[in-house]
């Protein structure tokens, strides 16, 4: 199988993702690593909480990966998302894509994170010193 989708409570291991997608046929791997920023719109963020509708999120990530394999000549795709409480600097998401040629890896990896942010049922709560808010929930 050339797709590895995971939703994990433990810290993500970037090397595991990269090593998993690397094949002897591959010439390039593009990796996107999301990180928790210490501020948003000028406000200091203490930590984030990620919640997933896990079964559906796995399905939606799998759809993205299958679409990627149809659109680009890729070798393997790893897409790991973390849930739970994350501190600043921790990694909520890792997407690694291998291909014989780098253009396909870049395009597909970017498509993956852009689409994940639009369709995968995972929610992020920003926790500030004076309160907390579900991101994008209100207009």
């Amino acid at each position: 199988m050339n797709i590895d989708i995971k939703i994990l409570k433990e810290p993500l291991d970037i090397n595991v993702c990269i090593n998993w997608v690397m094949t002897p046929q591959s010439g390039g791997i593009d990796v996107f690593v999301g990180t928790v920023r210490n501020h948003t719109k000028g406000k200091k963020v203490l930590r984030l909480e990620f919640e997933a509708y896990e079964r559906m999120a796995m399905k939606e990530m799998d759809k993205i990966a299958r679409e990627m394999l149809q659109r680009w000549p890729l070798h393997k795709i790893a897409m790991h998302h973390r849930v739970g409480i994350l501190d600043v600097g921790e990694v909520p998401v890792v997407i690694a894509v291998s291909a014989a040629h780098r253009d396909a890896a870049f395009d597909a990896c970017r498509y993956a994170i852009d689409t994940l942010k639009q369709t995968v049922p995972i929610w992020k709560k920003e926790i500030f010193e004076d309160g907390e808010v579900w991101v994008a929930a209100h207009p």
Binding site: K125, H138, P139
Partner: protein, 78 residues
């Protein structure tokens, strides 16, 4: 009909799921109206989708009582 809540919707329902009494074979659109009547704060969020059996469902989809229904507020993963 059990309805799962996530993110902001959990805060609106004050629960991770609610058990709604509905007529059989309600559409997604009708479910939304019913929910918005009971939880007016739902109208205040940016938008929300309904998933039926782990798939996004359009307003004219019909839901059976045995389906797994979830309210999906704007996603913000990644």
């Amino acid at each position: 009909m059990e309805i799962l809540a996530f993110g902001i919707v959990k805060d609106i329902f004050l629960a991770t799921s609610i058990d709604l009494i509905v007529d059989e074979d309600i559409t997604v659109g009708a479910l939304k109206q019913k929910l918005e009547g009971r939880y007016p704060q739902l109208r205040g969020i940016s938008s929300y989708m309904v998933a039926v059996n782990d798939e996004y469902a359009s307003d004219d989809s019909i839901i059976k009582d045995s389906d797994e229904v979830a309210i999906i507020p704007p996603v913000s993963g990644g």
